[in-house]
Amino acid sequence: MFNAVTRYFSEFRILKSASKDFWLTNAIQFFDGLAYFSMITVLALYLTTNCGFNDMDSGVWVGIYTLYITAFMFAVGSICDVIGIKKSFYIGIGLLAVARLGMGLSPEWLRGANLQLTAKGFIIIMALGTAFMSPVTMTSLRRFTSATTRATGFNVYYLLMNVGAILANALVVDGFRNGFPAIAKRLGALHLPQGALDFIGNGFGEVKGNLAIFDFGFVMAIGALICVILLRETNYAEPSERLEEAHDAKRPLSIFMEVWKEKAFQKLLLFLALTIGVRLVFTHQFLVMPKYYTRVLYSDFELGLANSINPCIIVIGLIVLIPVINRFTTVRLIIIGMAVSAASLVIMAVPLHWILTIPFIHNVTQAYLFIILSQILVFAFGELIFMPRFTEYIASVSPPDKVSSYMALSALPTFISKPINGFVSGILISRYCYDGIRPKIETGNISYNQSPEFMWMIYLILAVMSPIAVIALKNFLTQQKPEAVAATIEEGSAS
């Protein structure tokens, strides 16, 4: 394990030669990641608690937010090619700053239908801003890294993104909502002002804490904006790419028009559609889990800490496990990874009294903590196996000259499923995981078919369909020429 860690980090030495602009891009991404991951954890709770959306509507609007991000992302790559990196960053960060500040402040001034309408408007603005960040960051990283430093540069980006997710959840979400009582106790001896100790010990509480997370997002946007000002857009690490990029700008829909009649693309779409069930589990993390955690446990549950476990495992897994996992074939790993991810829901779907028979579990709180922790661990392991190979599969089935088009369009099936999942999650939460269900569970007023476990059974059935369908159609999906696969994997990993 020590060797794996040393090997992973020794690669980063190559980045000594990377330009200041490469590090500024990473700083922008880090600031934005802190804001995004803390915001997405509380978005569904914010819409319900701060804006008065019911469970149904909050689910729908979180779904709509992710849908518009996917839709806008198709267009942003081309916009960035036309107007350039800095202007794209300015637009994206500007939109995010306005939306986050608006969402942080509007519940202080507006009420009822006016507040809800305003929140919906800001969600659409925020989706547009969020859609800008990822493609522009990718273009920027590519521009500021040379052919020799590119792979390592993207590794740093991925590592920082996950570190941002860990800090956003463990420090920002829990810090603003609940504080850190244990730390406040220790700091008590230092004679700090009472106000500071109160904040460290209790945070702002759920209602003000949610708003503070959006305000924090605004501050992060300002930090990112300062980095953009310092960015030198024309500082290409590979001067030869300057000319290539100038001719790259395309109509956003042209890539779809180019490939939609191709057999390979249709086959890819089928594969992606088959995997929707299990990929929806990823969206549960922000659509369902925050409400599930705070309702079956308690409202002041440290949901940030729970949500930081997944990126922690991903970071460790990337360093230690990937070299081992990579010995297996892509399709086999996708199937295993999907099966493991789907299996993570099994423990959530079994009747609670089964969990209560486990010797070291004595009460409902411990039972739910066990369920939640087990799901997070198993799911993270599945994700670790599944996600990197998923991207590789898309690259491998694409014709060599159209890898990026296929990559961009791989979001199509989730584009359709996102609003549907928003509605479904809203309906299921309002029926099986409503605010106030915990006392009813503890006093035996809830039967299995009225319980949160039943909700997970529905999701489990949807998720299990994916690996089964892929196994059933494995031969059809993997028919391709070996030389084309080799060429496309090479190109896919380079891009």
């Binding site: 409202s299 549950f301 609003p419 479904v424 409503y434 915990r438 006093t443």
Partner: protein, 215 residues
């Protein structure tokens, strides 16, 4: 310029297609959606602990009296429920919620109405551990004899959760420690179960067992 125009047109098409999907999904789910009542501003004000907003919302004639959510809970029940683990937070919530009870009752919130599982506002407050809310409800004449579908009374729920002050107050009001659930369980049995399940609240449960034994 021409290229930028095409990009803009495509962006508008993508926005329109996304919106179309949302509208189709909305239409497809409208049957199920219609059965989920909208959250009322009264509930939002209660959740946020915002007394000023609650006053404003309650002024809209008849809303407090008519409010009923999908589980059959009234505004009073929503005010009587919190699910917090920290004692400091619980005490603060108790203070805020207790101030809301007289206002809701003034606006004709039904005092002893029971939700779909048979819980009254007093039962919600007894489970939640809100002694000041319990005090307010009892002062207005809330019935402590009501029981839910399983036969739990407010006293049993408070004993199950280890809420000592509430158990004491309910006993003082004449709640019967000998009454049983449908399976024959008493408040004492429930406190004993609580003691086994939550050893960290040992002191509270032992005090409850002492109070119940005295009666």
């Amino acid at each position: 310029m021409n290229k930028a125009l095409w990009i803009l047109i495509d962006a508008v098409i993508l926005f329109a297609v996304s919106t179309f999907f949302v509208l189709v999904a909305n239409l497809a789910f409208s049957g199920l959606k219609g059965k989920t009542p909208k959250d009322d501003p009264i509930v939002t004000a209660i959740t946020q602990g915002n007394m000023k907003e609650l006053e404003a919302a309650a002024m809209e004639g008849g809303k407090v009296a008519a409010l009923l959510d999908a589980q059959g809970r009234t505004a009073l029940m929503r005010a009587a429920y919190v699910n917090l683990s920290g004692d400091t937070l619980l005490a603060a919530a108790d203070e805020k919620r207790a101030a809301m009870i007289p206002l809701l009752l003034e606006h004709a919130a039904p005092l002893d109405q029971q939700d779909h599982d048979g819980w009254s506002a007093l039962m919600w407050a007894s489970w939640s551990g809100l002694p000041k809310v319990v005090e307010q409800l009892l002062a207005k004449g809330a019935l402590h004899t009501l029981s839910d579908a399983q036969g739990h009374t407010a006293l049993m729920l408070a004993a199950r959760r280890g809420n000592t002050r509430i158990v004491q107050r309910l006993i003082d009001c004449g709640a019967d420690p000998a009454s049983t659930t449908r399976t024959g369980t008493t408040a004492r049995n429930l406190a004993q179960t609580g003691l086994l399940e939550y050893p960290d609240k040992q002191a509270s449960y032992q005090e409850i067992l002492r109070l119940l034994a005295e009666k």
